[in-house]
Amino acid sequence: MQRARVEVVGAEPVGPYTLLRVARRGLEPGRPGQFFMLEAPGRPLPRPMSLCLAPPRELAFLIDPVGPGTRALASLTAGDELRILGPLGNGYRLGLERPLLVGGGIGVAPLPYLSAALGGPPALLGFRSDWHAEAAALVPAAEIVVEPRLVTEPLAELGPCGYSVLACGPEPMLAAIARLAPSAQLAWEAPMACGYGACYGCAVELRGELKRLCVEGPVLAAEAVAA
């Protein structure tokens, strides 16, 4: 875990999302699925963001403006500075036989960096609308599913055909995947104040016990989750 004050290099809209690119300033990008805590201008607490892309000398984050913190982050422009901390948590386990990336909505965020690390494996991405689906352009070899259809449908159709699923998305989707693919690696979310184990705010229930998601996760084996 490292800290730095970094400069915004650029911020481009991607459908409803914003791709925020900041200077690396000696920060390691870390493993796919790991995250960073980004200072949200004007807010008391930083916000957890998965690393989306790691261009040379840059770190890029895909931001869904759902509230004050993400709106503040999405409105940053080139030249602005912010404090950032990371990489944090445990990312995806790599070196898999037949990886399959599955993303839902903003859950696509960690997949571009993950896809690059895995050499562009097949990906299944679900979105609320075609507009949201514009984010799929960040992931090579992606099959896109738009609501009312859900990613879990094509996934179910694939059946138990030896794919290792690496997923990120809304909780109901992850829960469904956990049932379909017990060997899947799932990236979960929880409100986080610190991201490095200090606040105990990100408690999630694992094997019947409350654990800190920023310490045990955010990527967890599907089995661990089975309530």
Partner: protein, 296 residues
């Protein structure tokens, strides 16, 4: 003048380097039995601070002593153990067991956690019981949620506390932006951060005047300027809490900012700042500068 972390705002096991940047490390409150804490969501941000309803999640005394304390002992910084309970006997038990452990420099009595259904018995009783159980320095941590916090401070002093930790959080509520329902599963949670600062400063000032005890001041401290104000109000040390979440480098930053601020204020060493806000009538001091009183 030492810079500590506020209890519950840093885990020395997951962030040892940050713990080592402090002059002493304070543990999250330990209770006799293990506690999972409250159901999530248990943190929420508000405009000028945050709410938490962690609910004293901790491994319990036995596991703390067997698994946590040994590691803390190897940190290289003095260790303060915060203890909490739901009956006077709990505090006596906790202090009695901790008393044997040389790694423990001091014990903080958390008599003010707002996130547990059970209300702790009177502060005086708790302090007296703890005093009877240990010879280690006792710091009693009070909440600002009372008509007159200095009464509690006096009671703690009479019962034998060596110092005070001021302040703990005060209950606040946050509603979800979209649903207008409480964000926290427990509805209300303890307010910390910048919004708490003026309230904390008033508590430190009043308790210093009432008791003269050493005080660890905390509540929204984010800068060296804030730290200097807590010292001036009567604190002899300060603790950093919420600021650690957005700036884990705060201990070093606040320390250097504080030295600069103390210099600028003509105080020299920050240690000389303790209690500066007391003394000559502030009214007089004010008159020399802004007096809104026209009686020349």
């Amino acid at each position: 003048m030492r810079i500590l972390n506020a209890s519950g705002c840093l885990d020395a096991q997951t962030a040892p380097s940050i713990a080592r940047s402090l002059d002493a490390f304070v543990t999250k409150t330990v209770t006799p039995l293990p506690r999972e804490g409250n159901a999530p969501p248990r943190i929420a941000e508000v405009s000028h601070g945050m709410l938490n309803s962690i609910g004293l999640a901790n491994p319990g005394l036995d596991r703390f002593l067997s698994h946590t304390l040994p590691g803390l002992g190897r940190l290289g910084v003095p260790v303060w153990v915060s203890v909490g309970g739901f009956a006077v006997g709990d505090y006596a038990l906790l202090c009695d067991r901790l008393d044997e452990h040389p790694e423990v420099e001091a014990i903080e009595l958390n008599v003010s956690c707002p996130n547990v259904e059970e209300v702790p018995a009177g502060v005086a009783e708790i302090v007296a019981a703890a005093r009877g159980a240990t010879g280690k320095p006792l710091y009693t941590k009070l909440s600002p949620a009372s008509a007159d916090v200095s009464e509690f401070a006096r009671a703690a002093q009479a019962a034998g506390t060596d110092g005070l930790s001021l302040v703990n959080t005060i209950l606040g509520l946050a509603l979800d932006e979209r649903t207008l329902r409480p964000v926290l599963s427990r509805r209300a949670g303890g307010l910390s951060g910048p919004a708490l600062k003026p309230i904390a400063l008033a508590a430190v000032y009043a308790c210093y005047e009432a008791t003269g005890l050493p005080i660890v001041g905390m509540g929204g401290i984010s800068s060296g300027r804030d730290a200097l104000e807590f010292l001036a109000a009567g604190a002899s040390s300060i603790a950093l809490g919420t600021i650690l979440f957005s700036d884990p480098g705060a201990p070093g930053r606040v320390r250097s900012e504080l030295s600069a601020q103390a210099e600028a204020a003509g105080v020299g060493d920050p240690d000389n700042a303790t209690g500066l806000a007391h003394g000559p009538s502030p009214a007089l001091v004010q008159n020399r500068q802004v007096s809104p009183s026209l009686s020349a």
